[in-house]
Point group: C2
Protein backbone atom coordinates (compact mmCIF):
# COMPACT_ATOMS: atom_id res chain seq x y z
CA UNK A 1 0.00 0.00 0.00
CA UNK A 2 1.23 3.43 -0.97
CA UNK A 3 1.73 5.77 1.95
CA UNK A 4 -0.59 8.76 2.07
CA UNK A 5 0.76 11.99 0.60
CA UNK A 6 0.38 15.53 1.94
CA UNK A 7 0.79 18.86 0.19
CA UNK A 8 1.00 22.47 1.27
CA UNK A 9 -0.99 24.97 -0.73
CA UNK A 10 -0.37 28.72 -0.50
CA UNK A 11 -2.70 31.37 -1.95
CA UNK A 12 -1.15 34.82 -2.15
CA UNK A 13 -3.62 37.71 -2.26
CA UNK A 14 -3.35 41.48 -2.07
CA UNK A 15 -4.21 41.62 1.62
CA UNK A 16 -3.73 38.06 2.95
CA UNK A 17 -1.68 34.94 2.27
CA UNK A 18 -3.70 31.82 2.99
CA UNK A 19 -2.26 28.37 3.35
CA UNK A 20 -2.94 24.88 4.53
CA UNK A 21 -1.87 21.27 4.49
CA UNK A 22 -4.07 19.23 2.15
CA UNK A 23 -4.24 15.45 2.04
CA UNK A 24 -4.31 13.29 -1.07
CA UNK A 25 -8.10 13.42 -1.22
CA UNK A 26 -8.26 17.21 -1.21
CA UNK A 27 -9.19 17.55 2.46
CA UNK A 28 -7.51 20.49 4.25
CA UNK A 29 -5.85 19.52 7.56
CA UNK A 30 -5.05 23.10 8.49
CA UNK A 31 -5.96 26.60 7.35
CA UNK A 32 -3.88 29.66 8.23
CA UNK A 33 -3.91 33.26 7.10
CA UNK A 34 -1.19 35.91 7.35
CA UNK A 35 -1.26 39.51 6.25
CA UNK A 36 0.58 39.94 2.98
CA UNK A 37 2.12 43.29 3.92
CA UNK A 38 2.89 43.78 0.23
CA UNK A 39 4.01 47.38 0.81
CA UNK A 40 7.01 46.09 2.77
CA UNK A 41 8.44 44.76 -0.47
CA UNK A 42 8.86 41.51 -2.27
CA UNK A 43 11.70 40.07 -0.16
CA UNK A 44 9.44 40.42 2.84
CA UNK A 45 6.61 38.95 0.81
CA UNK A 46 8.62 35.84 -0.04
CA UNK A 47 9.45 35.39 3.64
CA UNK A 48 5.74 35.71 4.47
CA UNK A 49 4.97 32.93 1.96
CA UNK A 50 7.59 30.68 3.58
CA UNK A 51 6.20 31.54 7.01
CA UNK A 52 2.72 30.59 5.77
CA UNK A 53 4.08 27.17 4.75
CA UNK A 54 5.65 26.71 8.19
CA UNK A 55 2.51 27.77 10.06
CA UNK A 56 0.30 25.59 7.84
CA UNK A 57 2.47 22.57 8.66
CA UNK A 58 2.68 23.39 12.38
CA UNK A 59 -1.08 23.97 12.66
CA UNK A 60 -1.67 20.55 11.12
CA UNK A 61 0.68 19.14 13.82
CA UNK A 62 2.99 17.86 11.12
CA UNK A 63 6.63 18.25 10.14
CA UNK A 64 7.88 19.64 6.85
CA UNK A 65 9.49 16.23 6.17
CA UNK A 66 5.98 14.79 5.79
CA UNK A 67 5.14 17.18 2.95
CA UNK A 68 5.50 15.75 -0.56
CA UNK A 69 5.26 18.99 -2.53
CA UNK A 70 4.24 22.64 -2.26
CA UNK A 71 2.01 24.73 -4.51
CA UNK A 72 1.86 28.51 -4.61
CA UNK A 73 -0.88 30.48 -6.35
CA UNK A 74 -0.61 34.21 -6.98
CA UNK A 75 -2.49 36.92 -8.85
CA UNK A 76 -1.16 38.01 -12.25
CA UNK A 77 0.56 39.37 -14.13
CA UNK A 78 2.92 36.44 -14.12
CA UNK A 79 5.06 34.09 -16.14
CA UNK A 80 3.78 30.70 -15.05
CA UNK A 81 6.40 28.46 -16.73
CA UNK A 82 9.19 30.66 -15.31
CA UNK A 83 7.66 30.64 -11.82
CA UNK A 84 7.64 34.45 -11.71
CA UNK A 85 5.24 37.12 -10.53
CA UNK A 86 5.77 39.96 -13.01
CA UNK A 87 3.96 43.17 -12.12
CA UNK A 88 0.70 42.43 -10.29
CA UNK A 89 -1.59 45.43 -9.72
CA UNK A 90 -2.64 43.96 -6.35
CA UNK A 91 0.90 43.47 -5.02
CA UNK A 92 2.59 46.83 -5.44
CA UNK A 93 5.53 47.44 -5.52
CA UNK A 94 6.54 43.85 -6.36
CA UNK A 95 8.21 43.19 -9.69
CA UNK A 96 9.69 40.02 -11.23
CA UNK A 97 9.49 37.96 -8.05
CA UNK A 98 10.96 34.42 -8.36
CA UNK A 99 8.32 32.77 -6.19
CA UNK A 100 8.77 29.18 -7.27
CA UNK A 101 12.55 29.22 -6.99
CA UNK A 102 12.46 30.83 -3.54
CA UNK A 103 9.96 28.37 -2.08
CA UNK A 104 11.75 25.45 -3.70
CA UNK A 105 15.13 26.53 -2.35
CA UNK A 106 13.74 27.27 1.10
CA UNK A 107 12.05 23.89 1.60
CA UNK A 108 13.79 21.69 -0.98
CA UNK A 109 10.45 20.32 -2.17
CA UNK A 110 8.95 20.05 -5.65
CA UNK A 111 7.13 23.37 -6.00
CA UNK A 112 4.25 24.18 -8.33
CA UNK A 113 3.34 27.72 -9.34
CA UNK A 114 0.00 28.79 -10.77
CA UNK A 115 -2.32 31.74 -11.32
CA UNK A 116 -4.72 32.05 -8.36
CA UNK A 117 -7.95 31.72 -10.38
CA UNK A 118 -6.53 28.76 -12.34
CA UNK A 119 -5.58 27.14 -9.02
CA UNK A 120 -9.04 27.76 -7.58
CA UNK A 121 -10.54 26.15 -10.69
CA UNK A 122 -8.28 23.13 -10.31
CA UNK A 123 -9.14 22.97 -6.59
CA UNK A 124 -12.85 22.87 -7.39
CA UNK A 125 -12.15 20.29 -10.09
CA UNK A 126 -10.23 18.05 -7.71
CA UNK A 127 -12.10 18.43 -4.45
CA UNK A 128 -15.12 20.70 -4.89
CA UNK A 129 -17.96 21.32 -7.32
CA UNK A 130 -16.11 19.54 -10.12
CA UNK A 131 -15.35 16.28 -8.33
CA UNK A 132 -15.83 13.47 -10.84
CA UNK A 133 -16.15 15.80 -13.84
CA UNK A 134 -13.82 15.72 -16.84
CA UNK A 135 -13.75 19.48 -17.37
CA UNK A 136 -14.96 22.76 -15.94
CA UNK A 137 -14.84 26.49 -16.36
CA UNK A 138 -14.73 28.63 -13.23
CA UNK A 139 -15.75 32.29 -13.00
CA UNK A 140 -14.48 34.05 -9.86
CA UNK A 141 -16.77 36.99 -9.10
CA UNK A 142 -15.19 39.73 -7.03
CA UNK A 143 -13.86 43.24 -7.54
CA UNK A 144 -12.93 41.86 -10.95
CA UNK A 145 -13.82 38.63 -12.75
CA UNK A 146 -11.17 35.97 -13.05
CA UNK A 147 -11.40 32.46 -14.36
CA UNK A 148 -9.93 29.06 -14.75
CA UNK A 149 -10.39 26.35 -17.37
CA UNK A 150 -9.65 22.72 -16.59
CA UNK A 151 -9.86 19.95 -19.18
CA UNK A 152 -9.00 16.49 -17.91
CA UNK A 153 -6.18 17.46 -15.52
CA UNK A 154 -4.93 20.08 -17.97
CA UNK A 155 -4.95 23.62 -16.57
CA UNK A 156 -5.42 25.94 -19.57
CA UNK A 157 -2.84 28.48 -18.45
CA UNK A 158 -2.19 29.72 -21.98
CA UNK A 159 1.01 30.29 -23.91
CA UNK A 160 1.56 33.69 -22.31
CA UNK A 161 0.01 33.00 -18.88
CA UNK A 162 -3.22 34.66 -20.00
CA UNK A 163 -5.46 31.60 -20.27
CA UNK A 164 -8.96 31.97 -18.82
CA UNK A 165 -8.84 35.75 -18.50
CA UNK A 166 -12.57 35.42 -19.02
CA UNK A 167 -13.34 38.72 -17.32
CA UNK A 168 -11.77 40.44 -20.30
CA UNK A 169 -13.73 38.75 -23.04
CA UNK A 170 -15.84 41.32 -24.89
CA UNK A 171 -19.62 41.00 -24.71
CA UNK A 172 -20.65 44.44 -25.97
CA UNK A 173 -19.45 46.62 -28.85
CA UNK A 174 -22.05 49.42 -28.98
CA UNK A 175 -21.57 52.05 -26.26
CA UNK A 176 -19.45 49.59 -24.25
CA UNK A 177 -18.68 50.03 -20.56
CA UNK A 178 -15.08 50.81 -19.68
CA UNK A 179 -13.35 48.03 -17.76
CA UNK A 180 -10.80 48.30 -14.95
CA UNK A 181 -8.26 46.97 -17.47
CA UNK A 182 -8.76 50.08 -19.58
CA UNK A 183 -10.50 48.09 -22.28
CA UNK A 184 -14.09 48.35 -23.45
CA UNK A 185 -17.04 45.99 -23.29
CA UNK A 186 -15.38 43.38 -21.05
CA UNK A 187 -17.58 40.93 -19.11
CA UNK A 188 -15.95 42.27 -15.93
CA UNK A 189 -17.27 45.76 -16.67
CA UNK A 190 -20.81 44.33 -16.64
CA UNK A 191 -20.89 41.56 -14.07
CA UNK A 192 -18.24 42.08 -11.37
CA UNK A 193 -19.20 43.18 -7.86
CA UNK A 194 -17.73 46.57 -8.75
CA UNK A 195 -20.03 46.81 -11.76
CA UNK A 196 -23.07 45.82 -9.69
CA UNK A 197 -22.39 48.81 -7.43
CA UNK A 198 -21.68 51.13 -10.35
CA UNK A 199 -24.82 50.14 -12.25
CA UNK A 200 -26.86 50.59 -9.08
CA UNK A 201 -25.43 54.09 -8.54
CA UNK A 202 -26.30 54.99 -12.14
CA UNK A 203 -29.84 53.70 -11.69
CA UNK A 204 -30.26 55.54 -8.37
CA UNK A 205 -29.39 58.76 -10.15
CA UNK A 206 -32.38 58.25 -12.42
CA UNK A 207 -35.18 56.73 -10.34
CA UNK A 208 -36.51 59.89 -8.71
CA UNK A 209 -35.79 58.71 -5.18
CA UNK A 210 -38.05 55.64 -5.24
CA UNK A 211 -35.58 52.90 -4.30
CA UNK A 212 -35.09 51.87 -0.67
CA UNK A 213 -31.37 52.13 -1.32
CA UNK A 214 -31.51 55.94 -1.27
CA UNK A 215 -32.10 55.94 2.51
CA UNK A 216 -29.24 53.53 2.99
CA UNK A 217 -26.84 55.68 1.00
CA UNK A 218 -27.98 58.80 2.91
CA UNK A 219 -27.36 57.06 6.23
CA UNK A 220 -23.73 56.74 5.17
CA UNK A 221 -23.72 52.95 4.78
CA UNK A 222 -21.51 51.44 2.10
CA UNK A 223 -23.32 50.44 -1.07
CA UNK A 224 -21.86 47.04 -1.89
CA UNK A 225 -23.06 44.09 -3.95
CA UNK A 226 -24.28 42.24 -0.85
CA UNK A 227 -26.53 45.11 0.20
CA UNK A 228 -27.86 45.42 -3.35
CA UNK A 229 -28.62 41.71 -3.66
CA UNK A 230 -30.35 41.80 -0.25
CA UNK A 231 -32.45 44.81 -1.30
CA UNK A 232 -33.40 43.01 -4.51
CA UNK A 233 -34.45 39.91 -2.55
CA UNK A 234 -36.49 42.14 -0.20
CA UNK A 235 -38.48 43.51 -3.13
CA UNK A 236 -36.65 46.71 -4.10
CA UNK A 237 -37.40 46.97 -7.81
CA UNK A 238 -34.30 48.93 -8.78
CA UNK A 239 -32.01 46.48 -6.99
CA UNK A 240 -33.92 43.52 -8.41
CA UNK A 241 -33.38 44.91 -11.93
CA UNK A 242 -29.63 45.25 -11.33
CA UNK A 243 -29.48 41.69 -10.00
CA UNK A 244 -31.45 40.34 -12.95
CA UNK A 245 -29.16 42.15 -15.42
CA UNK A 246 -26.16 40.69 -13.61
CA UNK A 247 -27.58 37.17 -14.00
CA UNK A 248 -28.01 37.86 -17.73
CA UNK A 249 -24.45 39.14 -18.16
CA UNK A 250 -23.04 36.12 -16.31
CA UNK A 251 -25.14 33.86 -18.53
CA UNK A 252 -23.58 35.51 -21.60
CA UNK A 253 -20.16 34.75 -20.12
CA UNK A 254 -21.19 31.17 -19.38
CA UNK A 255 -22.67 30.59 -22.84
CA UNK A 256 -19.53 31.97 -24.50
CA UNK A 257 -17.36 29.50 -22.60
CA UNK A 258 -19.84 26.70 -23.35
CA UNK A 259 -19.40 27.54 -27.05
CA UNK A 260 -15.62 27.61 -26.72
CA UNK A 261 -14.55 24.93 -24.25
CA UNK A 262 -17.88 23.06 -23.93
CA UNK A 263 -17.13 21.85 -20.39
CA UNK A 264 -19.08 19.48 -18.14
CA UNK A 265 -19.67 22.29 -15.66
CA UNK A 266 -19.64 26.05 -15.39
CA UNK A 267 -18.86 27.05 -11.81
CA UNK A 268 -19.35 30.47 -10.20
CA UNK A 269 -17.41 31.44 -7.09
CA UNK A 270 -16.73 34.54 -5.00
CA UNK A 271 -18.70 36.77 -2.66
CA UNK A 272 -21.61 37.21 -5.04
CA UNK A 273 -22.69 33.57 -4.77
CA UNK A 274 -23.97 34.39 -1.26
CA UNK A 275 -27.02 35.53 -3.26
CA UNK A 276 -28.03 31.87 -3.27
CA UNK A 277 -29.94 29.43 -5.45
CA UNK A 278 -32.48 31.94 -6.74
CA UNK A 279 -29.75 33.98 -8.42
CA UNK A 280 -28.17 30.83 -9.82
CA UNK A 281 -31.54 29.84 -11.26
CA UNK A 282 -31.76 33.19 -13.06
CA UNK A 283 -28.31 32.58 -14.58
CA UNK A 284 -29.48 29.12 -15.65
CA UNK A 285 -32.65 30.60 -17.14
CA UNK A 286 -30.68 33.00 -19.32
CA UNK A 287 -28.17 30.32 -20.34
CA UNK A 288 -31.12 28.29 -21.65
CA UNK A 289 -32.02 31.23 -23.89
CA UNK A 290 -28.46 31.98 -25.01
CA UNK A 291 -26.72 28.65 -25.56
CA UNK A 292 -27.04 26.17 -28.41
CA UNK A 293 -29.53 23.35 -27.63
CA UNK A 294 -27.08 20.55 -26.74
CA UNK A 295 -24.81 22.44 -24.33
CA UNK A 296 -27.89 24.27 -22.95
CA UNK A 297 -29.43 20.91 -22.09
CA UNK A 298 -26.34 19.17 -20.83
CA UNK A 299 -23.95 21.63 -19.16
CA UNK A 300 -24.32 21.94 -15.40
CA UNK A 301 -24.27 25.47 -13.99
CA UNK A 302 -23.34 25.40 -10.31
CA UNK A 303 -21.77 27.32 -7.44
CA UNK A 304 -18.29 26.59 -6.13
CA UNK A 305 -18.03 24.51 -2.96
CA UNK A 306 -14.62 25.31 -1.45
CA UNK A 307 -15.24 28.93 -0.49
CA UNK A 308 -12.19 30.98 0.48
CA UNK A 309 -10.08 27.81 0.78
CA UNK A 310 -10.32 27.06 -2.96
CA UNK A 311 -7.09 28.94 -3.68
CA UNK A 312 -4.81 27.05 -1.33
CA UNK A 313 -6.57 23.72 -1.92
CA UNK A 314 -6.09 24.36 -5.64
CA UNK A 315 -2.45 25.30 -5.13
CA UNK A 316 -2.01 22.00 -3.27
CA UNK A 317 -3.78 20.26 -6.17
CA UNK A 318 -1.24 21.79 -8.55
CA UNK A 319 1.57 20.48 -6.31
CA UNK A 320 -0.01 17.02 -6.51
CA UNK A 321 -0.32 17.31 -10.29
CA UNK A 322 3.35 18.31 -10.54
CA UNK A 323 4.41 15.31 -8.50
CA UNK A 324 2.33 12.96 -10.66
CA UNK A 325 3.80 14.45 -13.83
CA UNK A 326 7.31 13.96 -12.45
CA UNK A 327 6.53 10.31 -11.73
CA UNK A 328 5.23 10.00 -15.30
CA UNK B 1 14.38 2.90 -39.15
CA UNK B 2 10.62 3.06 -38.87
CA UNK B 3 8.81 2.63 -42.13
CA UNK B 4 6.93 5.65 -43.41
CA UNK B 5 3.22 5.79 -42.59
CA UNK B 6 0.35 6.92 -44.81
CA UNK B 7 -3.15 8.03 -43.88
CA UNK B 8 -6.35 8.73 -45.77
CA UNK B 9 -8.27 11.83 -44.79
CA UNK B 10 -11.88 12.40 -45.82
CA UNK B 11 -13.70 15.73 -45.46
CA UNK B 12 -17.47 15.47 -45.87
CA UNK B 13 -19.24 18.68 -46.86
CA UNK B 14 -22.75 19.60 -47.92
CA UNK B 15 -21.93 19.55 -51.63
CA UNK B 16 -18.62 17.63 -51.94
CA UNK B 17 -16.63 14.92 -50.20
CA UNK B 18 -12.91 15.61 -50.46
CA UNK B 19 -10.22 13.10 -49.73
CA UNK B 20 -6.56 12.32 -50.11
CA UNK B 21 -3.65 10.19 -49.02
CA UNK B 22 -1.38 12.13 -46.65
CA UNK B 23 2.12 11.12 -45.65
CA UNK B 24 3.60 11.23 -42.16
CA UNK B 25 4.81 14.80 -42.68
CA UNK B 26 1.39 16.17 -43.64
CA UNK B 27 2.06 16.21 -47.37
CA UNK B 28 -0.92 15.19 -49.53
CA UNK B 29 -0.09 12.55 -52.18
CA UNK B 30 -3.49 12.74 -53.80
CA UNK B 31 -6.56 14.94 -53.72
CA UNK B 32 -9.95 13.82 -54.97
CA UNK B 33 -13.45 15.27 -54.78
CA UNK B 34 -16.82 13.55 -55.21
CA UNK B 35 -20.28 15.04 -55.05
CA UNK B 36 -21.90 14.29 -51.71
CA UNK B 37 -25.36 13.71 -53.18
CA UNK B 38 -26.74 14.06 -49.66
CA UNK B 39 -30.33 14.04 -50.88
CA UNK B 40 -29.90 10.40 -51.95
CA UNK B 41 -29.78 9.42 -48.30
CA UNK B 42 -27.26 8.45 -45.71
CA UNK B 43 -26.61 4.88 -46.90
CA UNK B 44 -25.60 6.34 -50.25
CA UNK B 45 -23.56 8.98 -48.39
CA UNK B 46 -21.60 6.33 -46.49
CA UNK B 47 -20.87 4.53 -49.78
CA UNK B 48 -19.66 7.84 -51.26
CA UNK B 49 -17.26 8.26 -48.31
CA UNK B 50 -15.89 4.75 -48.86
CA UNK B 51 -15.57 5.46 -52.58
CA UNK B 52 -13.64 8.65 -51.74
CA UNK B 53 -11.19 6.56 -49.71
CA UNK B 54 -10.74 4.14 -52.63
CA UNK B 55 -10.25 6.92 -55.19
CA UNK B 56 -7.82 8.78 -52.91
CA UNK B 57 -5.71 5.62 -52.59
CA UNK B 58 -5.90 4.79 -56.31
CA UNK B 59 -5.02 8.35 -57.35
CA UNK B 60 -1.92 8.18 -55.13
CA UNK B 61 -1.05 4.93 -56.97
CA UNK B 62 -1.16 3.06 -53.71
CA UNK B 63 -3.00 0.06 -52.26
CA UNK B 64 -5.31 0.15 -49.26
CA UNK B 65 -2.89 -2.24 -47.50
CA UNK B 66 -0.36 0.61 -47.36
CA UNK B 67 -2.72 2.84 -45.37
CA UNK B 68 -2.14 2.89 -41.60
CA UNK B 69 -5.35 4.64 -40.55
CA UNK B 70 -8.30 6.65 -41.89
CA UNK B 71 -9.78 9.91 -40.61
CA UNK B 72 -13.20 11.27 -41.47
CA UNK B 73 -14.31 14.83 -40.74
CA UNK B 74 -17.93 15.93 -41.01
CA UNK B 75 -20.04 18.96 -40.20
CA UNK B 76 -22.10 18.91 -36.98
CA UNK B 77 -24.31 18.25 -35.23
CA UNK B 78 -22.48 15.14 -34.15
CA UNK B 79 -21.46 12.91 -31.27
CA UNK B 80 -17.70 12.74 -31.71
CA UNK B 81 -16.88 10.02 -29.12
CA UNK B 82 -19.67 7.83 -30.53
CA UNK B 83 -18.50 8.38 -34.12
CA UNK B 84 -21.96 9.58 -35.17
CA UNK B 85 -23.33 12.35 -37.35
CA UNK B 86 -26.55 13.38 -35.57
CA UNK B 87 -28.68 15.86 -37.52
CA UNK B 88 -26.50 18.17 -39.63
CA UNK B 89 -28.31 21.09 -41.26
CA UNK B 90 -26.01 20.76 -44.31
CA UNK B 91 -26.62 17.05 -44.87
CA UNK B 92 -30.38 16.67 -45.01
CA UNK B 93 -32.04 14.19 -44.58
CA UNK B 94 -29.26 12.31 -42.73
CA UNK B 95 -29.82 11.37 -39.12
CA UNK B 96 -27.72 9.38 -36.64
CA UNK B 97 -25.23 8.13 -39.21
CA UNK B 98 -22.58 5.72 -37.81
CA UNK B 99 -19.73 7.10 -39.93
CA UNK B 100 -16.78 5.80 -37.95
CA UNK B 101 -18.16 2.29 -37.58
CA UNK B 102 -19.00 2.05 -41.29
CA UNK B 103 -15.58 3.21 -42.50
CA UNK B 104 -13.84 1.03 -39.94
CA UNK B 105 -15.84 -2.06 -40.94
CA UNK B 106 -15.39 -1.38 -44.66
CA UNK B 107 -11.61 -1.03 -44.59
CA UNK B 108 -10.67 -2.72 -41.29
CA UNK B 109 -8.41 0.19 -40.37
CA UNK B 110 -8.20 2.32 -37.23
CA UNK B 111 -10.64 5.14 -38.01
CA UNK B 112 -10.74 8.61 -36.46
CA UNK B 113 -13.82 10.82 -36.52
CA UNK B 114 -13.84 14.56 -35.98
CA UNK B 115 -15.79 17.76 -36.55
CA UNK B 116 -14.69 19.35 -39.84
CA UNK B 117 -13.56 22.68 -38.37
CA UNK B 118 -11.70 20.91 -35.56
CA UNK B 119 -10.00 18.72 -38.17
CA UNK B 120 -9.06 21.75 -40.28
CA UNK B 121 -7.56 23.36 -37.17
CA UNK B 122 -5.57 20.24 -36.42
CA UNK B 123 -4.48 20.08 -40.07
CA UNK B 124 -3.16 23.65 -39.92
CA UNK B 125 -1.52 22.84 -36.58
CA UNK B 126 0.25 19.79 -37.98
CA UNK B 127 1.13 20.83 -41.50
CA UNK B 128 0.09 24.42 -42.15
CA UNK B 129 0.14 27.81 -40.44
CA UNK B 130 0.61 26.22 -37.02
CA UNK B 131 3.62 24.04 -37.81
CA UNK B 132 5.94 24.19 -34.82
CA UNK B 133 3.42 25.97 -32.57
CA UNK B 134 2.13 24.52 -29.31
CA UNK B 135 -1.44 25.78 -29.70
CA UNK B 136 -3.75 27.59 -32.07
CA UNK B 137 -7.29 28.78 -32.55
CA UNK B 138 -8.77 28.60 -36.06
CA UNK B 139 -11.70 30.65 -37.32
CA UNK B 140 -13.25 29.29 -40.54
CA UNK B 141 -14.98 32.15 -42.35
CA UNK B 142 -17.71 31.08 -44.72
CA UNK B 143 -21.49 31.11 -44.86
CA UNK B 144 -21.14 30.65 -41.12
CA UNK B 145 -18.17 30.86 -38.77
CA UNK B 146 -16.74 27.63 -37.39
CA UNK B 147 -13.67 27.06 -35.34
CA UNK B 148 -11.14 24.70 -33.89
CA UNK B 149 -8.95 24.90 -30.81
CA UNK B 150 -5.76 22.87 -30.54
CA UNK B 151 -3.59 22.81 -27.44
CA UNK B 152 -0.52 20.60 -27.64
CA UNK B 153 -2.03 17.76 -29.70
CA UNK B 154 -5.29 18.04 -27.81
CA UNK B 155 -8.29 18.85 -30.00
CA UNK B 156 -10.75 20.73 -27.78
CA UNK B 157 -13.81 18.91 -29.03
CA UNK B 158 -15.78 19.56 -25.83
CA UNK B 159 -17.80 17.27 -23.59
CA UNK B 160 -20.86 17.46 -25.86
CA UNK B 161 -19.07 17.85 -29.23
CA UNK B 162 -19.61 21.62 -29.10
CA UNK B 163 -16.04 22.75 -28.48
CA UNK B 164 -14.85 25.72 -30.55
CA UNK B 165 -18.32 26.75 -31.74
CA UNK B 166 -16.73 30.18 -31.79
CA UNK B 167 -19.18 31.55 -34.34
CA UNK B 168 -21.84 31.38 -31.65
CA UNK B 169 -20.05 33.30 -28.94
CA UNK B 170 -21.93 36.50 -28.14
CA UNK B 171 -20.24 39.82 -28.87
CA UNK B 172 -23.22 42.15 -28.67
CA UNK B 173 -26.12 42.46 -26.24
CA UNK B 174 -27.77 45.76 -27.24
CA UNK B 175 -29.90 45.51 -30.38
CA UNK B 176 -28.08 42.31 -31.36
CA UNK B 177 -28.15 40.85 -34.86
CA UNK B 178 -30.03 37.58 -35.29
CA UNK B 179 -27.79 34.64 -36.16
CA UNK B 180 -28.47 31.71 -38.48
CA UNK B 181 -28.61 29.55 -35.33
CA UNK B 182 -31.65 31.51 -34.15
CA UNK B 183 -29.64 33.14 -31.36
CA UNK B 184 -28.76 36.79 -30.93
CA UNK B 185 -25.49 38.71 -31.00
CA UNK B 186 -23.33 35.80 -32.24
CA UNK B 187 -19.97 36.57 -33.87
CA UNK B 188 -21.26 34.74 -36.96
CA UNK B 189 -24.10 37.25 -37.30
CA UNK B 190 -21.49 40.03 -37.60
CA UNK B 191 -18.50 38.58 -39.39
CA UNK B 192 -19.49 35.66 -41.64
CA UNK B 193 -19.55 36.07 -45.42
CA UNK B 194 -23.34 36.02 -45.14
CA UNK B 195 -23.23 38.92 -42.71
CA UNK B 196 -20.85 40.88 -44.95
CA UNK B 197 -23.47 40.70 -47.72
CA UNK B 198 -26.35 41.48 -45.37
CA UNK B 199 -24.61 44.49 -43.82
CA UNK B 200 -23.76 45.75 -47.30
CA UNK B 201 -27.37 45.43 -48.42
CA UNK B 202 -28.49 47.37 -45.36
CA UNK B 203 -25.94 50.11 -46.05
CA UNK B 204 -26.91 50.27 -49.73
CA UNK B 205 -30.47 50.95 -48.65
CA UNK B 206 -29.30 54.07 -46.85
CA UNK B 207 -26.53 55.63 -48.94
CA UNK B 208 -28.68 57.47 -51.47
CA UNK B 209 -27.27 55.58 -54.43
CA UNK B 210 -23.65 56.69 -54.02
CA UNK B 211 -21.88 53.34 -53.84
CA UNK B 212 -20.51 51.70 -56.98
CA UNK B 213 -22.22 48.53 -55.81
CA UNK B 214 -25.64 49.85 -56.80
CA UNK B 215 -24.79 49.50 -60.49
CA UNK B 216 -23.55 45.99 -59.91
CA UNK B 217 -26.74 44.95 -58.14
CA UNK B 218 -28.83 46.54 -60.90
CA UNK B 219 -26.90 44.63 -63.55
CA UNK B 220 -28.11 41.44 -61.85
CA UNK B 221 -24.72 40.31 -60.58
CA UNK B 222 -24.59 38.46 -57.30
CA UNK B 223 -23.56 40.55 -54.33
CA UNK B 224 -21.11 38.31 -52.48
CA UNK B 225 -18.31 38.95 -50.01
CA UNK B 226 -15.66 38.74 -52.74
CA UNK B 227 -17.29 41.47 -54.80
CA UNK B 228 -17.70 43.64 -51.70
CA UNK B 229 -14.06 43.22 -50.64
CA UNK B 230 -12.96 44.03 -54.21
CA UNK B 231 -15.11 47.17 -54.26
CA UNK B 232 -13.64 48.23 -50.93
CA UNK B 233 -10.10 47.74 -52.22
CA UNK B 234 -11.01 49.75 -55.33
CA UNK B 235 -12.03 52.72 -53.19
CA UNK B 236 -15.78 52.30 -52.74
CA UNK B 237 -16.38 53.94 -49.38
CA UNK B 238 -19.46 51.97 -48.41
CA UNK B 239 -17.75 48.66 -49.17
CA UNK B 240 -14.58 49.79 -47.39
CA UNK B 241 -16.64 50.59 -44.29
CA UNK B 242 -18.23 47.13 -44.33
CA UNK B 243 -14.80 45.51 -44.72
CA UNK B 244 -13.34 47.59 -41.89
CA UNK B 245 -16.23 46.68 -39.59
CA UNK B 246 -15.68 43.02 -40.48
CA UNK B 247 -12.03 43.28 -39.49
CA UNK B 248 -13.11 44.80 -36.18
CA UNK B 249 -15.66 42.05 -35.49
CA UNK B 250 -13.12 39.35 -36.28
CA UNK B 251 -10.64 41.08 -33.97
CA UNK B 252 -13.24 40.92 -31.18
CA UNK B 253 -13.54 37.19 -31.85
CA UNK B 254 -9.76 36.81 -31.85
CA UNK B 255 -9.28 38.82 -28.65
CA UNK B 256 -11.95 36.79 -26.88
CA UNK B 257 -10.18 33.55 -27.74
CA UNK B 258 -6.83 35.10 -26.76
CA UNK B 259 -8.38 35.86 -23.35
CA UNK B 260 -9.78 32.35 -23.06
CA UNK B 261 -7.30 29.91 -24.59
CA UNK B 262 -4.31 32.29 -25.00
CA UNK B 263 -2.89 30.36 -27.97
CA UNK B 264 0.37 30.85 -29.86
CA UNK B 265 -1.57 31.69 -33.01
CA UNK B 266 -4.97 32.79 -34.17
CA UNK B 267 -5.57 31.54 -37.70
CA UNK B 268 -8.25 32.68 -40.15
CA UNK B 269 -9.32 30.48 -43.04
CA UNK B 270 -12.04 30.34 -45.68
CA UNK B 271 -12.98 32.30 -48.77
CA UNK B 272 -12.73 35.69 -47.09
CA UNK B 273 -8.96 35.45 -46.66
CA UNK B 274 -8.66 36.04 -50.40
CA UNK B 275 -8.90 39.69 -49.28
CA UNK B 276 -5.20 39.44 -48.57
CA UNK B 277 -2.63 40.93 -46.21
CA UNK B 278 -4.21 44.37 -45.98
CA UNK B 279 -7.36 42.92 -44.44
CA UNK B 280 -5.29 40.79 -42.07
CA UNK B 281 -3.40 43.91 -41.01
CA UNK B 282 -6.69 45.62 -40.14
CA UNK B 283 -7.64 42.63 -37.97
CA UNK B 284 -4.23 42.85 -36.29
CA UNK B 285 -4.68 46.58 -35.75
CA UNK B 286 -7.96 46.07 -33.93
CA UNK B 287 -6.59 43.16 -31.90
CA UNK B 288 -3.89 45.52 -30.64
CA UNK B 289 -6.62 47.83 -29.36
CA UNK B 290 -8.80 45.09 -27.89
CA UNK B 291 -6.48 42.57 -26.28
CA UNK B 292 -4.57 42.75 -23.01
CA UNK B 293 -0.97 43.95 -23.49
CA UNK B 294 0.87 40.60 -23.25
CA UNK B 295 -1.29 38.53 -25.64
CA UNK B 296 -1.61 41.61 -27.90
CA UNK B 297 2.17 41.75 -28.17
CA UNK B 298 2.86 38.03 -28.44
CA UNK B 299 0.02 36.24 -30.22
CA UNK B 300 0.50 35.77 -33.95
CA UNK B 301 -2.53 36.53 -36.14
CA UNK B 302 -2.17 34.75 -39.49
CA UNK B 303 -4.01 33.24 -42.43
CA UNK B 304 -4.38 29.50 -42.93
CA UNK B 305 -2.05 27.84 -45.41
CA UNK B 306 -3.75 24.61 -46.47
CA UNK B 307 -6.68 26.10 -48.36
CA UNK B 308 -9.49 23.73 -49.26
CA UNK B 309 -7.29 20.71 -48.44
CA UNK B 310 -7.17 21.59 -44.71
CA UNK B 311 -10.18 19.40 -43.95
CA UNK B 312 -8.87 16.13 -45.37
CA UNK B 313 -5.29 16.82 -44.28
CA UNK B 314 -6.68 17.49 -40.80
CA UNK B 315 -8.78 14.33 -40.92
CA UNK B 316 -5.59 12.43 -41.82
CA UNK B 317 -3.85 14.19 -38.92
CA UNK B 318 -6.59 12.92 -36.60
CA UNK B 319 -6.03 9.40 -37.95
CA UNK B 320 -2.32 9.78 -37.18
CA UNK B 321 -3.12 11.06 -33.68
CA UNK B 322 -5.42 8.09 -33.08
CA UNK B 323 -2.71 5.66 -34.13
CA UNK B 324 -0.18 7.34 -31.84
CA UNK B 325 -2.60 7.24 -28.92
CA UNK B 326 -3.20 3.52 -29.52
CA UNK B 327 0.54 2.90 -29.45
CA UNK B 328 0.74 4.86 -26.15
Amino acid sequence: MQKSLYYVGVDVGGSAIKGGVVDDNGKPLSSVSLETEAAQGQEHGLQRMAETVRQAVATAKMKIEQIAAIGVATPGTMDIPAGLILDPPNLKPWKNVPVRQYIHDTFQKPTAFQNDANAAAYGEFWAGAGRGAHSLVLFTLGTGIGGGIIIGDLVIEGEHSHGAEVGHTKIQMTNPRICGCGGKGCLEAYASATSVVKRTQEALGQDGGKSSLHALVKSGKELNSRVIFDAGAAGDQLAARVVEDTAFYLAVGAANLMHTVDPDLVVFSGGMIAAGEKFLDRIRHHVQQLALPVPAAKTKIVYAQLGADAGFIGAAACARLLLRAKKG
